[in-house]
């Protein structure tokens, strides 16, 4: 069944007493893809992930992992996934290698294969030095990596990690990012995170959810285009800018000055130009602005970060979802 998607979620709803945590979410993840799961706190990320693992039952909708339904065949699904929950709970009083051995046995790895496999994941997660330490005495970064090592231990086709990089220092984040990237193509990975550059660098595709709904999905580049819908340029220019809008309109009808600063001592002012056109306008802009009567000092195209996309997408959905209904008079 290599053509079935690794994860398929359709019309998933999860309601707790009075609260709908997940409201009609549908998405699919292809095999070998790395999906980033974004959303503000309480958006339903962890709930969705728990349902994917079969830990929580869904209220309605269907979820299947590698073509196997989570609701009807949970035991099979549990063999297909490696899961690292939020806050990465670990037993305090076991040694790292003992813990991995115990987990490996639970995940039905053959005793004969388990020793070499543990060595392999310890190497992969850079845990060799602490393999005989007690987990309760490890620092946060090590504990986090023990959690990651545990989730990849049985080489499952699908790995689900809830905030794997939380509480790590930049160096450790780099290690974790490389680790996740190294799984690309072999395993399907879903990670949720608040650290947006993280997601942008490791994930093939991003899913933004807010208030239990999918508000945007696609590659980071698609999202920028779809959610923000414009590109912006920063220029620093001196001269009479009253004539500028006409010139800009000649270049591109939607190009306009969205923000202008005050001139500094040398007469240069900083302008922000925005356009709905996606094509590169740098060169024509440069040519126009370098000509008389302007003097150009700097020109750059600003790349909206995923952060902007995230804020725009979640704000947009707040407007849609959280608009208070006026009581009829």
């Amino acid at each position: 069944m290599p053509d079935t998607p690794a994860i398929e979620v359709s019309h998933l709803v999860k309601a707790y007493a009075g609260v709908t945590a997940v409201n009609d979410i549908s998405f699919r993840v292809a095999r070998g893809e790395i999906l980033g799961f974004l959303g503000p706190n309480g958006a339903g990320k962890s709930t969705t992930m728990r349902i994917l693992t079969g830990y929580l039952p869904a209220t309605s909708g269907s979820v299947s992992i590698c073509g196997v339904s989570v609701a009807s065949r949970p035991d099979e699904v549990k063999r297909q996934i490696g899961y690292m929950p939020e806050n990465n709970p670990l037993p305090e009083d076991m040694r790292v290698s003992e813990y991995l051995y115990f987990r490996g046995r639970l995940k039905e790895i053959k005793r004969r294969m388990l020793g070499p496999r543990i060595d392999e994941v310890l190497e992969l997660c850079d845990l060799k030095r602490v393999r005989h330490k007690i987990i309760g005495q490890l620092s946060k970064g090590y504990r986090q990596r023990v959690g990651i090592a545990e989730s990849v231990l049985a080489e499952p086709p699908v790995i689900i990690m809830d905030e794997p990089t939380i509480g790590l220092d930049p160096h450790q984040i780099l290690i974790v990012r490389d680790l996740i990237s190294s799984l690309r193509g072999r395993m399907t990975v879903i990670i949720s995170s608040h650290i947006l550059p993280e997601i942008e660098m490791t994930c093939d595709r991003v899913l933004i959810i807010n208030q239990g709904r999918v508000v945007a999905q696609g590659t980071p580049a698609d999202l920028r285009r779809e959610v923000l819908g414009h590109s912006t340029y920063q220029v620093e220019v001196a001269g009479d800018i009253a004539a500028l809008p006409v010139l800009l309109a000649a270049l591109d009808p939607t190009l306009q000055i969205s923000h202008q600063g005050d001139p500094d001592a040398e007469g240069f002012r900083r302008l922000t130009l925005s356009t709905e056109n996606d094509a590169e306008l740098g060169e024509p802009l440069l040519r126009t602005l370098a000509a008389q009567p302007f003097r150009l000092r700097a020109l750059s195209r600003t790349n909206p970060t995923l952060e902007d996309v995230f804020l725009a997408a979640t704000r947009r959905s707040w407007d849609v979802v959280a608009t208070p209904k006026r009581p009829a008079k």
């Binding site: 707790y16 929580l56 709970p89 639970l106």
Partner: protein, 253 residues
């Protein structure tokens, strides 16, 4: 049941490496030794009708009320508090296997602790040189009673632990349930109101569930299959409720 032995050996290992197990075992033996010496002193001052083993097992409720909550309160409550139940249940392990693994480990520890008190009788036999003190009948019956009633008591402890994420609450809950079972039912049996015709089935049920009376039968050498059934069915019921308790908490977490 593929993972039961993995879980059981893990639990036993955790008990063996934890210092608190040894501290608890030593304190248990100190208390029981104290009780035992007192019984012997009492016997040396005046001749008694019954064997010292009987008196020893008459006091079984003391260790049960204290040890069982202590041994079991941690089992499931701790897993839930740390959140490790989530990693445990997302492997191909069923809730039943988890609960049974915890239960079997707690029960083995309970039996080992009680079994170590057999040393008292060995010492007594060796130094008194008098076989009358160590009557094998009541002794065997007593230990059999401890082993069989222990099944039920430990299962109650596991059930209490499945209900709360707070160990202290689980402990108190277990203590209360055991107290009701051991002393509440005899107290209920003394109620005159139960003698009415309409309440006859209740009366019968209460009479049937007299743990103190069961103990007397066992130490006298009377092993009644109805009593065995009482403990075995109680154990099964408590374990089923524990499994349901764990799963219900997941549904509403």
């Amino acid at each position: 049941m593929k993972h039961f032995f993995t879980l059981l050996s893990h639990e036993i290992r955790m008990l063996l490496v934890s210092p608190s197990t040894y501290v608890a075992a030593v304190l248990f033996l100190v208390c029981m030794g104290f009780v035992f010496t007192n019984i012997l002193q009492y016997y040396s001052s005046a001749p008694q009708e019954i064997s010292p083993a009987l008196v020893f097992f008459n006091l079984f409720w003391g260790p049960v009320l204290i040890m069982v909550p202590m041994l079991t309160m941690k089992c499931l409550a701790e897993e839930r508090r740390l959140g490790t139940i989530e990693t445990l249940l997302t492997t191909p392990v069923t809730t039943t296997e988890v609960v049974l693994g915890k239960y079997a480990a707690a029960y083995l520890l309970y039996i080992t602790l009680w079994g170590s008190t057999a040393g008292f009788f060995v010492i007594l036999k060796k130094y008194s040189g008098d076989v009358r003190f160590v009557d094998p009948g009541p002794l065997l019956g007593g230990y059999l009673f401890i082993a069989i009633s222990g099944l039920f008591f430990v299962a109650i402890g596991i059930f209490a632990s499945s209900l709360s994420r707070n160990q202290a609450i689980a402990g108190v809950l277990c203590f209360t349930m055991l107290l009701t079972l051991i002393f509440g039912l005899p107290w209920l049996a003394g109620f005159g109101a139960l003698n009415r015709e309409a309440l006859q089935p209740v009366r019968q049920a209460v009479d049937y569930a007299q743990i103190l009376a069961h103990r007397d039968d066992f130490t006298r050498g009377v092993i009644d299959s109805r009593q065995l059934l009482f403990y075995l069915s109680g154990t099964t019921l408590a374990l089923i409720f524990s499994i349901l308790g764990v799963e219900a908490k997941l549904l509403h977490s």
